[in-house]
Symmetry: C2
Subunit: 330 residues, 2 copies
């Protein structure tokens, strides 16, 4: 059920089988599987999953290609709630390993927050990432286009950018390397540094050999209307026409709550085994937070794998559950 603040004063003694941090595709899928394994589950979601911003999921099997991320999340949350899982809108601040359980410190509410501790035997880190966006004077100008034709994922949206004039917005020299795989989809590429970093001679040569243009002065604003970016206005007042943009500025990893626990990372991503178990036997990582491809369909499968492994762990470690009914003669 959807939990409210009232929850603070009830159920304090409950230990969930699994607590899932993040109600995106990975977390919701894990929750559905766990509940269907008759394991008690709490999803804690702070809102604004990365997929929430996706206007159209073009590559998710089973859904029409104009399905929005929001629709998927709403359907998934409804599905999860019908399985009897608990769902709390809150922010996970810290996780403490108590040996058999985790104590998870949760902040509920923004203006006048209240704090509580929830306990669970297993933890699933499904809190994902969020893309860094270009920092302009007027950030609303960025948000107007992000998730529409200002893309953040080449694998997701390369197809949408085929043969288009695409601006790549980078944050470092290495971030511009995305131009080369983007070149599979279109040759009309302009790279923007926004005046924030230098492009060395080697990379400059390689980009120019492909015919890509490099623009190194600051960006004044994005141009366009109705969420369709049509170009960029530069600091000197000149404008560059574009059909689409691709942001390549790295990501913020939502994993601060795991700081107190010794886990193996690769870059910002958690290293996991084939069932998505981290280097801690009772912590799983799924979706964009783990090493691997950041795709909704993969995140959803990740959830199924982690949930199944947790079920196996619990099933093998304890006697059969107490059956609720005894109406049938065995």
């Amino acid at each position: 059920m959807q939990l409210s603040k009232q929850f603070l004063n009830q159920q304090q003694d409950q230990v969930y089988d699994a607590l899932i941090v993040g109600g995106g595709p990975a977390g919701l899928s894990a929750g559905i599987y766990l509940q269907r394994y008759l394991l008690s589950t709490l999803i804690i979601d702070k809102g604004k999953a990365r997929s929430f911003w996706m206007q159209e999921l073009h590559n998710y099997l089973g859904l029409p290609p104009d399905t929005s991320g929001r629709e998927l999340l709403n359907q998934g949350k409804d599905h999860y709630l019908t399985t009897g899982g608990d769902y709390l809108n809150a922010y996970v601040e810290e996780v403490i390993d108590e040996g058999e359980t985790f104590a998870v410190r949760v902040r509920i509410g923004r203006k006048h927050p209240t704090y509580m501790i929830v306990r669970a035997r297993y933890l699933i880190a499904a809190s994902g990432i969020i893309d860094h966006l270009p920092v302009l004077e007027n950030m609303q100008n960025v948000f107007d286009y992000a998730g529409h034709n200002l893309h953040v994922c080449l694998i997701c949206d390369g197809y949408e950018m085929r043969d288009q004039r695409v601006g790549v917005f980078g944050s470092s020299e290495s971030s511009l390397e995305v131009a080369f795989p983007l070149g599979w989809f279109t040759p009309y590429i302009t790279l923007f540094t926004n005046g924030a970093f230098e492009v060395g001679a080697d990379l400059r040569d390689r980009l120019q050999a492909k015919g890509y243009r490099i623009v190194e002065q600051p960006i004044k604003q994005f141009l366009g209307e109705n969420h369709q970016m049509t170009g960029v206005e530069l600091a000197d007042g000149s404008a560059i026409e574009l059909d689409a943009g691709l942001v390549s500025m790295g990501s913020k990893y939502h994993a601060d709550y795991l700081k107190g626990i010794d886990l193996e990372y690769k870059g910002g991503n958690l290293v996991t085994d084939s069932m998505n178990r981290t280097s801690h036997p009772r912590i799983f990582a799924i979706g964009d937070l783990k090493v691997g491809m950041n795709q909704v369909i993969i995140a959803a499968a990740d959830g199924a794998l982690a949930a199944t492994q947790i079920w196996r762990d619990i099933r093998r470690s304890e006697p059969p559950r107490n059956f609720q009914t005894n109406v049938h003669a065995a």
Copy 2:
């Protein structure tokens, strides 16, 4: 596009980037991703994917839990066709590795088959498995319930069987071991050997210690109506009431066409790496045919992974594609 026999006399020279054997969830997802990577793709499907039999997909994120396998497959096929992929209803008989390409021998039609050779650079084995079912005198009596409340997948349908009286239909001693994880969902388990094999003393003791019943005489027929099995009638005329059944008789692996190629297997499953590449660098295996869990959401993610790796391979091995248009000044 949907290809017909006419295709035989056209396009004979085409070499597809990837040929996908099987139009189930894994193959369709791979096809959607490949087409969106601007790679030419042919799916060859013989019909009757395992998921075609599923009446309700209870655990696929994004779809209401009463969605049938058939609906998912229809949606996925439509989706794939809108990306421009080719689809052929046919049966793959043999695959010959020609070094740079595969020559794939295909049979079209059943009564008066015609044969053709199709070529592709990469092969994706997505042809899956099909469950063995109990062999009774009247097989229609089995088909009446299979996929309804005569289940074949504990992970998928354990939840549906919770607290129910479940009959397990095995084909060997080891196949009855499924009773123990099934015991997580219900204690009311009856095991049927259909008179086909012996149950040794050790397993018998372990099953009986759990209170499970073993029935060793042949089954005359399943009882029930409207696709809901209500029990089993035995050879001696006695009847046992059940709420559901679970078939545990192993599977047929649809991989005969790969016989001529040396590939690494584990049991009947193909061994793959994390991107679903087999031990052959240009053959990928996805879905139920590969080692791993047999779940629709995982099969769909498998397709995304294999397609992405094939795109990377091709992209890194060749010059950029020829761009179709030249309307934009770069």
